[in-house]
Symmetry: C2
Subunit: 368 residues, 2 copies
Amino acid sequence: MATHLGDYFDEFTHRDWQTLDPDAVDDPVRLAIVGLGWFTHNWALPGIQRSAFTEATVVTDVDADAVSDLAAEHDLTGVTPEELKSGAVVDQYDAVYVATPNATHLEYVESAAEQGKAVLCEKPMAATLERAERIVETCEDAGVPLMVGYRMQTDPAARRVKDLLEEGFVGDIVHVHANMSQHMLGELTGEADQWRLDPELSGGNALMDIGIYPINTTRFVLESDPHRVIGHTRSVHEPFSEVDEHAAFQLTFPDDVHALCTVSQNAQHHSRLEITGTEGQLVLDPAFYEREDRGVAVVRGGVEATIDFDQVHQLEEEFAYFGHHLLTGTDFYPDGRHALTDMCVLDALYESAETGSPVAVPDAGSHD
Amino acid sequence: MATHLGDYFDEFTHRDWQTLDPDAVDDPVRLAIVGLGWFTHNWALPGIQRSAFTEATVVTDVDADAVSDLAAEHDLTGVTPEELKSGAVVDQYDAVYVATPNATHLEYVESAAEQGKAVLCEKPMAATLERAERIVETCEDAGVPLMVGYRMQTDPAARRVKDLLEEGFVGDIVHVHANMSQHMLGELTGEADQWRLDPELSGGNALMDIGIYPINTTRFVLESDPHRVIGHTRSVHEPFSEVDEHAAFQLTFPDDVHALCTVSQNAQHHSRLEITGTEGQLVLDPAFYEREDRGVAVVRGGVEATIDFDQVHQLEEEFAYFGHHLLTGTDFYPDGRHALTDMCVLDALYESAETGSPVAVPDAGSHD
């Protein structure tokens, strides 16, 4: 029996999307970074710096001190948001990374589009579906490439799960379970990051901020979109009085495959994605946090393998993909239309949580 | 710090319900066994024989050969169903164990009740809610004790999970995930057991036969009942054309705690119960199969323990509990009213699967 297991092992963390030699890149994509919160500091900026296809050149934030500190520390150009929008340093960057509170993504995308710059926008794309649509249309109208920051999609663990599903390793998919929970107030440091508790800035909390991981990762690995959802949200503790603290929801995919998902901003830290098919099962556990390793279990019949591998830096992978695809002129998989489907799902989930009834998800054109 | 961890370890498999010394029991409860399928052969009869509080004395089945073979092999009295019902060997047993196809439980419960015998009825109690109600009322009217065969409730793994939840180990419960799937046609041997494919005999398949494990075990460990459900069923493969092959469902418990459950009679073998709270998480994986060991993981904050213990024979524990409680005149926890709630939940789930809408679960009086 030729197992091809050697190839499988050797290629596990291989960037299957990469055609450009990283060592041959002299002019990486220069990025202006908008929004200097916890995630940018700890993950996005290191990711940009580690990636051979990107480099950080400009930073901005509404907090002038944060800008000058970071600019000095990393030898970057620090500007005010107004300076960035006015085009004062437009020659210093090729693309804009937007990592501000959800409600303020649009204004930075608009100025980037006006300047003809590519955009990498954080998830969720906006605080409302209507503004997300404007983001997508703005970029389409200006002809600038738009990618949304789904770091799971460039993690080899998720890509290998997708590969196995595609080749029928688990047979027909029967059902999916996913959970993502954390103590947001304890795990995300800094008052500046607590805009998630303000519904005007965030558009919602548990569903918007982390519900999007089960939704998008399931869509990615299944390569299909839910057409019907039912959602429940609730808030028990005071800091969450204006946003959803916990959520439970169910997504109906084609062939009546159900994904049963829960998320919480105030529960035991845990994340898991479990896909059960007629012939096997694939499990990521831990699944969704950038700050811990992914666990991969592959089961078929009576055989189970737990796969340990050289974990990647998720943001290095994401920015490498972004930079690489801009350098090669290749379309992004998680583009604006793809991300708009998540926004439609989230919108439908909040509506369902209000009404208590299942809600149909409109087609956002992700497969056009 | 006094950990009391020694006590915890020593008492993990301790029968917290047992007041009678097993060695002091001279007259165990004598059981007539009705229905000699795969489960009786492999699990129930060995359980009855291993338990100090029960013994098997009489067997019956519609299959006369199965009766004479088993009676000869184990030195039991073999009778026809008609002989059992007529009271021909009424002096040879104190209680009746009913393990026939779901639709035929009622007739044996009726004759047992007429004879003043206690009843241990297999789950689900009947093929329809209406007949389950008749089973409960029949036993109540005749004043005979009725227990339903929920073997998870006497497994120490489930009892210790219940203990931890009760003492607030995980904080407030936030959500529950549960899955139970198997290849019914491959794992359950013998044509005689395939009555589950006949809706008249079974009342349904995936939900009725295995959905009841996530439902009942969650009710047991949470000590509360769902008041609202939404369910989806589907059948893809031919043998399941008249019954549900797969099901996905959601149960709403008090305080809006959601249990998200999936079951399948034609998917990768797997079972898991995952309870996430504000401060911790408890996981049984494997959870629900009598034919494999239970896995127990206990998590709180950054500490996780995987607990290996001397696994019990689940049917020995169940029958020991049944016999013990009859000998001591103690009420059963999984009595008829308790089981009727499961039947109400199943009935509501099938209705929801038909209509596509959430369905309220009527109160079956399990807490009266």
